[in-house]
């Protein structure tokens, strides 16, 4: 069998160079895909260990974690009713802060359990000293927009949400992060910036993700906006 693809497989998790039988892929490849789908579907239906994550977030030293369930009472409702996942069952009473930090299960609680605390720890190290940060919020059966309600309650200038992304066959443990200026219920998705594919080993590392988030936060404070007007300009074009 050819070893042509071996070096390239170190550069991408994509299923490249599958052996052909006629026009189809070999049995081994078909079963590998079926197995990956089974694991991903199990991840979708998994739940977040809130106590364990709470211990990790408490260790960040930014206050006692607050658990905020969404208005979706269970996983089945969460999957078919995104509107319920976008708002908290009850909005907690919180002291004002410049920056709201929300850790949400999203569609992969496993990703959140693996990466959320690490990304937030790295992000806190990158933040300027003049920003006050609220206590970590743990949101369950939650979608990104739930955090707008928390941010509004904290009268926050900015909100960062880290949330489990939808599992795929190669990655069922990938985290996304969203930055929103002036969070308020009804904020359009185009008014957010996103950093995706935070995972190991093939995705974005915790430190790199944190640096990108810190740049987006700095840019958002400069132009007082997030979304399509704010691009991650670490790679700004200099010839124009």
């Amino acid at each position: 069998m050819s070893t042509f693809w071996d070096p390239l497989r170190h550069r991408t998790p994509a299923r490249i160079g599958l052996d052909r039988v006629g026009d189809a892929a070999r049995t081994r490849h078909v079963l590998e895909s079926a197995e990956a789908l089974a694991l991903a579907r199990d991840a979708v239906h998994g739940s977040l260990d809130v106590d364990r994550l709470g211990d990790e977030l408490r260790a960040l030293g930014i206050g006692e974690p607050v658990h905020v369930p969404s208005a979706a009472p269970d996983r089945a409702t969460y999957l078919s009713r995104p509107d319920l996942g976008r708002r908290p069952a009850d909005v907690p009473v919180l002291a004002p802060a410049d920056l709201t930090l929300v850790v949400a299960d999203g569609l992969s609680a496993e990703a959140t359990a693996l990466h959320a605390a690490g990304v937030l720890a790295a992000l806190l190290a990158e933040l300027p000293g003049d920003l006050t940060v609220g206590p970590p919020i743990i949101a369950t059966q939650a979608r990104v927009a739930l955090a707008d309600h928390i941010g509004a309650a904290q009268e926050a200038r900015l909100c960062v949400v880290v949330i489990g992304e939808r599992p795929g066959l190669s990655a069922h443990d990938s985290l996304g992060a969203y930055v929103t200026w002036a969070p308020a219920p009804g904020t359009a998705d185009s008014a957010r910036n996103c950093v995706s594919n935070i995972r190991r080993p093939h995705g974005l590392g915790h430190a790199d993700a944190a640096r990108t988030l810190a740049r987006l936060i700095a840019g958002a404070r400069r132009i007082e906006a997030t979304g399509v007007q704010l691009k991650d300009t670490s790679g700004r074009l200099t010839d124009g």
């Binding site: 994509a14 299923r15 490249i16 795929g168 990938s174 974005l204 991650d232 700004r236």
Partner: protein
């Protein structure tokens, strides 16, 4: 206007065209989420009876979304061709279904259907699709022909093209190039080689544009490339001199939903002009690439129509095609199963929606492709995708999305694999776009029957393709 119909001894009433269209739609989770779905099968069939009797001229006077507040409606109405409409002006929705099926089975079907296209509005097409079975959607779409061109000619009869989608979770150039090589060796890429970048950083996007353009020019491949970032980023990159073939944008069927995407018709016109101005095409000058999908408007809270009522997601999807066709794009595809189970719950709903979207887009005159796909949180699997891919090919679909092993490792969903299209082309007798097929032939990659040979990539003329990617 109130509509009503009696099934056995029960009379169902519908409060206006928006309500009637929604209640006549096949059952799907997104319409339930929006609160506009029929409550029972009997109510649904009553709505279809009533819809069948609605004159087509009603759609020119009763807006589904008010033109006063929606620029998509204004574009649809401003570009409606009354002369073309005269072919069916006196028909009802039910009679239009009969006309379409009769025309599809008759002589000069493609010519007659093309002549009608500018006379139909998206709402008329959505309405008639609700009276059509899956077989009807395939039948009429198969008789419809829409051809566009840039460096390949797309939509010709007997052809099935592919987007080669070499996504990488961190935009690694060698990783992207490896997936491009894999696809080319399996005969994919003739509609577009199109990357969804993980980052919207303009430098990353520019680097990917150069990577794809370098591969294309080095091997003289007659293909077009696209890096699927926001259209404003692409407009900036064109001004910077980046090698842009196809500007891309996601669009939806209402102004409010497009606001959610941060996009306006003026931006699309600007991108269209800028890319055409580069004159990079060799056999045609269609340059835009649009993606759409049922549920996009609802997910952006942009799904309300006349009277503040929720409009069903399939009608809104057809309206996105009304926006798209103003710009004569090279390719359009619905991302049918991508948006999730809250809009299309399972394999049955995804297959139906894929056939509806393809039919509506093609009948409106668009070069319509489909991302035959699903997510891990929907009740669907690869068997459902096999079914939809074969049905769409029978329906004359312009192109489908293909990724290595059916697994998109950046966006986290499942589409068709390069192998799936090899199989589909063989069993349906379809072939790649002619310019691309000639290139494959010229490199000795096809056998005597025109099928892609299985070769050791180390012996292929493309074997060095990935060598310079990281440089």
């Amino acid at each position: 206007m109130r509509y009503s119909h009696t099934v056995r001894d029960r009379t169902y009433t519908f409060d206006g065209l928006v309500d009637l269209l929604a209640k006549a739609a096949p059952d799907r989770s997104g319409d339930r989420l929006a609160g506009c779905a029929a409550d029972s099968d009997a109510e649904r069939v009553a709505a279809r009876w009533a819809l069948a009797d609605v004159p087509l001229t009603t759609f020119l006077t009763d807006p589904v979304v008010p033109p006063e507040t929606d620029n998509v409606t204004r574009l649809i109405w401003d570009t409606h061709d009354g002369d073309a409409f005269s072919l069916v002006r006196h028909h009802t929705v039910g009679e239009l279904r009969d006309w379409l099926l009769d025309t599809a089975a008759g002589p000069d079907a493609a010519t007659r259907l093309s002549a009608l296209a500018p006379g139909l509005t998206p709402e008329m097409v959505a309405a008639v699709s609700k009276l059509m079975r899956n077989q009807d959607l395939v039948s009429v779409a198969a008789a419809t022909s829409v051809t566009t061109a840039f460096r390949t000619t797309l939509g010709l009869p007997g052809r099935l093209a592919t987007r080669l989608q070499p996504n990488h979770p961190a935009d690694d150039p060698t990783g992207v190039a490896g997936a491009v090589l894999d696809g080319l060796l399996l005969g994919a890429g003739d509609a577009v080689i199109g990357v969804n970048p993980a980052s919207d950083n303009p430098r990353t996007v520019r680097d990917l544009l150069h990577l794809l353009d370098d591969i294309r020019t080095r091997y003289e491949i007659p293909v077009q490339s696209s890096v699927l970032t926001h259209v404003t980023t692409t407009i900036d990159l064109i001004a910077q001199g980046a090698p842009v073939d196809l500007p891309f944008q996601s669009i939806a069927g209402t102004q409010r939903a497009n606001d959610g995407f941060g996009v306006t018709p003026a931006m699309l016109a600007e991108a269209n002009d800028a890319a055409r101005g580069l004159a990079r095409g060799s056999v045609g000058d269609n340059v835009l690439y649009f993606e759409t999908g049922q549920g996009a408007a609802l997910s952006a809270d942009g799904h309300h129509g006349t009277g503040g009522r929720p409009v069903d997601q399939q009608t809104l999807e057809a309206r996105a095609y009304g926006l798209a066709r103003v710009f004569d794009p090279l390719i359009v595809n619905t991302v049918v199963g991508f948006i999730g189970p809250e809009y299309l719950y399972d394999g049955k709903q995804i297959i139906r929606a894929g056939l509806e979207d393809h039919f509506c887009g093609k009948l409106l005159g668009l070069p319509m492709g489909v991302d035959v796909c699903y997510t891990t949180h929907a009740e669907a699997d690869q068997d459902d995708m096999d079914t939809l891919l074969l049905l769409l090919t029978a329906a004359g679909c312009t192109f489908v999305i293909t990724v290595p092993g059916a697994d998109d490792v950046m966006l986290g969903y499942q589409s068709a694999s390069f192998h799936d299209v090899l199989t589909t082309r063989r069993v349906t007798g379809t072939r790649p776009a002619p310019e691309f097929e000639a290139w494959l032939e010229g490199l000795g990659m096809l056998d005597d029957a025109g099928r892609v040979r299985a070769v050791d990539p180390g012996d292929s003329p493309l074997r060095e393709l990935t060598a310079k990617a990281g440089a």
